[in-house]
């Protein structure tokens, strides 16, 4: 249940950004979560709905953009099918993750009268 600690960090960060930008009310958060980030999306939403109360995020919507995992050979750039052995047949090189482990706060939509 580390989703609760992720949400606590998320709300802290939004609070900091709100202070920095004179934000008064947060309407929506856009986050990006990778398939291999180890984050369960339903738990993340439940944790957000629970923890947002009485914070700057009270009433805010959590918009989650999911990112599927992708691996490629660092030498020949060949991509790997899901579930494949993560070593390039041609080059013998171990695959590198191209995307899929993101846990990113992308954007905050907030009322900021001074911006």
């Amino acid at each position: 249940m580390h989703e609760y600690s992720i949400v606590a960090s998320l709300i802290d960060r939004v609070q900091q950004e709100a202070v920095a930008h004179g934000g008064t009310r947060v309407h929506r958060l856009h986050v990006k979560i990778g398939e291999l980030a180890g984050v369960e999306l339903d738990l993340l939403k439940t944790a957000f709905d629970t923890f947002r109360e009485k914070t700057i995020c009270d009433g805010a919507e959590l918009a989650i953009d999911t990112v599927s995992a992708a691996w490629a050979c660092p030498v020949c750039n060949r991509s790997f099918a899901k579930g494949a052995i993560l070593r390039c047949d041609a080059c013998g090189q171990p695959a590198c993750m191209v995307r899929g482990d993101e846990i990113i706060l992308e954007r905050i939509e907030m009322e900021a009268p001074d911006v």
Binding site: M1, H2, S5, I6, S9, L10, D12, R13, E17, H21, G23, R25, H27, V31, L36, A37, G38, V39, W71, G83, A84, I85, L86, R87, P94, A95, C96, M97, D101, I103, I104, L105, E106, R107, I108, E109, M110, E111, A112, P113, V115
Partner: protein, 256 residues
Amino acid sequence: MCETCGCGDPEIVPIEVQARILSDNDAQAAHNRSHFEHLGVLAINLMGSPGAGKTAVLEATAKAAAGRLKLGAVSGDLATERDADRLNASGIVSSTITTGSACHLDARLVHHALHHFPSNESDIFFIENVGNLVCPAIYDLGQAANVVALSVTEGEDKPLKYPVMFQKADLVLLTKVDLIPHLDFDVAAVEDALSRVMPEARMLKVSARTGEGIDAWLKWLEERRPPRTGHRGHHDHHHAHDHPHEHAGDHPHEPH
């Protein structure tokens, strides 16, 4: 106020952030890493299910390394100090991080434990994480390497079921291999599963009970040890990086 039509709706502005949500943990982990590197200590984050044999492997490691290497450990435990007691008895200087209901260690908990640790003379420092194949994988603690203990009684498919944990591993210790004759465990199947989630799949077969594989494990550790730095025995709190540094309040900072 909406300036386009005067409708009275508040103006909503998008603030671009594009930052890792766990960036505070990352910064604390970088701080821990600079401590370890400054002291010339190899820090290992040892993860695995409850009952995978993490503590038993460390006990066997202590036995094999006795007189050669100084070992230290912190053990994450929800409720008890049993693991640290076992490790202290085996000759590893140890303390417990009691996590309460938290299912993983984070960099702040490890930092706090480091500042209260009885010794900074360790050659190798093990961070024995809370038994859990999910949550610990996503928190950087400042370790040099991640090691996952997987016991033969857990089944060959665990790497495929918990890909995040195994993808982050630098080494998998297949534990309790002395039990293989009594089980239908297929070593080739677990090697195949690992190769599909771990780009540089590396696995060592060990038995804490018989000592099988412990020498190979010690060799793997020795190969990763940083050069000794001569900074031990005193704590001047050097930082290789520059970020605000706040302690829990019980650690007075000496001026550099």
